[in-house]
Symmetry: C2
Subunit: 491 residues, 2 copies
């Protein structure tokens, strides 16, 4: 894109001044509208070293109340960050509804640098591009305004700026080694940057190339583009988006009504022996996982009172507490609800070598959120694909993903509810909401069946735990976890 791009003509000084002052005032007014209409704005500043990414951000934010924005400066991934999926550190910083995040260089810089330093080949690059397209699409599909600026200066201008900065002790640090390399290999960089921009130029989050040869002019271009895009975003509040085709391999899975629950039981004695044996085996594996830096994600969904808690306990009992975490997922907090619904899961991912266990999960989107109307129909219909994409991302990162559906029948639930109600020390476990949900059993069953069909991918399949006999379910879960980890360890 850079090669056939033509800068707009810079206006005369007087006009520039008037337009700048207009634009600043407009942005000031629009920030209130952004807040009122709850639009999250992610503004990405990429571009050449010394093109003025940081200083332009500095000028733009002067027009925004400090409560409404965050500036995030990205450098090369730290050792800590490298233990997470590549998009983790970006996803972490997406803004809340009604707020701005300014990223001082983001995923473009990272990918292009890897490419320039020949750290990724054609295939890896292609897979990164896929990830980024999905990421950006998921954001815009979910109501984010994503603004992508490329701050552009020519080779000569960059050279001049770098030399000027290098002259003085106080400014020398501003020119990185990579900046100098970039200038020396300007043409090669143009090629890689252009390719990247053309690969990620979507009509819903297009690239804007900013002529950054003059600071005030650069600021004006950025402001005017932001204003135009904010105005458009404000007009599109109840906007729906096409439901994309699932492109991932789905395995067949029975409907809930076809799952045989009878005779799935264990004697107490056999249970105890098995439990002990399997737990010790799992403990062993946990160490090896840690050494090999493999991340494991275990998720639990199932009916109320199906026995998720006790099941999870039998897993964690076997694990070193320094290497795992259990995340009980309740309704989202306000700061979570204000972001992409996957944000609270992205930010709870385990480091590699660690195990994260989710007691209820992102599948809430297509169960409770669907049935209670917490999101629109377009939202939950889109979510199957978004979730498959999310799990695919985790799989490509190298994670072991084990998804459990804990199944009981309606009568068993009633028995357990009544037992809880009648046992004083268990009464806290049963609420009015549980009874209300029970009334919607049939609706839930439809939603769960659809969910299982549409998200049973070969890389992250569902495992059903028949849990009328909780002992049976626990042993089955342990066996599956062990088996999946062994596979990942190549055993």
């Amino acid at each position: 894109m850079l090669t056939n791009w033509n800068p707009a003509h810079m206006p005369e000084k007087e006009e520039l001044k008037t337009r700048l002052s207009d634009a600043r005032n407009q942005l000031y007014d629009l920030q209130m509208k952004i807040k009122e209409h709850k639009v999250p704005v992610l503004a990405l500043f990429e571009g050449w070293g010394t093109a003025g990414k940081g200083s332009t951000i500095g000028k733009v934010i002067r027009n925004i109340d400090p409560r409404f924005f965050k500036v995030v400066t990205m450098s090369e991934p730290t050792a800590e960050e490298q233990r997470y999926p590549f998009l983790y550190r970006y996803f972490k910083h997406i803004p809340e509804q009604g707020k701005f995040t300014f990223l001082d260089s983001g995923w473009m810089e990272q990918i292009c640098r890897e490419r320039l330093e020949e750290k990724n080949d054609e295939k890896e690059y292609g897979s990164r591009i896929e990830s980024i397209r999905r990421f950006e699409r998921q954001l815009t599909d979910n109501g984010y305004l994503v603004l992508k600026f490329f701050m552009h200066i020519d080779q000569e201008e960059q050279k001049k700026r770098e030399e000027r900065l290098l002259e003085h002790k106080d400014t020398r640090w501003r020119v990185s080694e990579f900046d100098r390399w970039e200038n020396a290999h300007y043409k090669k960089c143009v090629k890689v940057f252009s390719q990247y921009m053309s690969d990620t130029n979507a009509s819903t989050s297009p690239w804007y190339i900013i002529d950054a040869s003059e600071r005030k002019w650069a600021e004006l271009q950025v402001l005017e583009t932001m204003i135009s895009n904010i105005q458009v975003a404000l007009q599109n509040q109840a906007h729906s988006v096409p439901i994309l085709q699932n492109v991932f391999p789905l395995e067949q899975i029975p409907r809930l009504s076809e799952i045989e629950l009878k005779d799935k039981e264990l004697e107490e004695a056999e249970y105890k022996t098995e439990l002990k044996k399997l737990q010790s085996e799992l403990g062993e594996l946990h160490n090896r996982l840690y050494r090999k830096r493999i991340p494991v994600i275990i998720t639990y969904e199932g009916w109320d009172a199906a026995g998720k808690g006790g099941n999870i306990k039998r897993i964690t009992e076997a694990l070193d507490p320094r290497g795992y975490e259990v995340h009980p997922i309740a309704s989202p907090e306000p700061h979570e609800k204000a972001r992409h619904y996957l944000w609270r899961f992205w930010t709870r991912l385990p480091k590699n070598g660690h195990i994260a266990i989710f007691d209820r999960t992102w599948y809430g989107r297509v169960m409770v959120e669907r049935l209670e109307g917490f999101c629109s129909e377009n939202d939950w219909r889109r979510a199957y694909n978004e979730i498959n994409e999310f799990e695919k991302e985790l799989k490509e990162w190298g994670a072991v993903i084990i998804k459990f559906w804990v199944q009981i029948d309606k009568d068993t639930q009633l028995e357990r509810f009544e037992e809880r109600q009648n046992t004083p020390e268990k009464q806290w476990k049963i609420t009015e909401e549980d009874w209300r949900n029970r009334e919607k059993w049939d609706d839930y069953e439809v939603a769960v069946d659809e969910m299982l069909q549409k998200t049973n991918t070969s890389f992250a399949p569902w495992h059903v735990l028949e849990s009328v006999d909780k002992k049976y379910a626990r042993i089955k879960a342990l066996k599956i976890v062990i088996e999946e980890i062994q596979k990942a360890l190549g055993e």
Copy 2:
């Protein structure tokens, strides 16, 4: 995309039947909504030979009233079609608001075939992809629902089908030579098709790959995808889209107020001599143009009573009537208003070797339509780029584009208006509307200035004709036309 695509599981016979019947009924109901909400639907069927594109379309349309759809079967471009820009024959067939067009293979087949037959190189392919992306984006940006289906069968299945058809005299014609070639070079085709689909997969008009191994199942997938997308489209009626950056080279051009009108005049005698000389020169050039098959597009915009008509006349007097056409552009007819605003210009393009003269043009979008509120602000703001893209497309096709702005001052207009009013045989030339427009002179001036700034590309620049003295303007126009044609002829 084909290589990593996985078909969904075909449902059992009973389920298939129920879902098919549901889907057919739903589509039947939705066609009324499409009509009511004035959504134009363009459904593109691409895919392997013998995959059943035509027969699937045949089944889908059974659920739609014949007044609401058209089926267009595309074959290789005819000699006649080859005399137009590559997108012409597709643009021609875009549906009206509230109606469906089904294309039995479209631009994908054409491009991929050129690629497979090595008729285009990497660069030409890239430029085609750019054109197609713009075309599809312009459609969806302007409210079109664009559905892209790829009917997929595997190599074995295709072979079986082809052999079956070839066995019988009556069906042999159904298998083209290209179909057989495709089967013999299946892998190569997969690569080219996949690349194309991935190059043109936008979130606003995504690809849907249809497992076409079984006819009823294929029909169901198409129907369900159509329904889902129609439902989404119906929710997005007042949807705005981002204003893209202009990527084309713009030349500076003075504001109207800076144009010097004084002393731009000619003596009658000089005018006559010049006129004769230039017209005969232009006549000559017209023949050469025709031989070299160069298309020429001359457009006129300007103030009411600026002298467009008389100016055009001095051009056409020089031309062979078999080789040019003048298109006076008034407000659009209902069937024109019901389509993309550029449709009535696409369909009026000259064949190569011909000259088309437009008396008022597509620039109405950013003048009268803007000022009279005939389109939304988002629409006209987007139009500058859409128009530049349109003219770029024409330029790449090989057209000479000459755009005139005929300029007079406000007093001159008043004089001419009054003269028309007071001269019985000229009274038809002056209407109430002219007077109303005159009152908005200042608003128009703002709009025209913005238009000139934003569409004065180096490949299709504006030429100002100072027309207080009409003779001066006519001679200047002739000279420019001659000069531009000479350039195109390489003289």
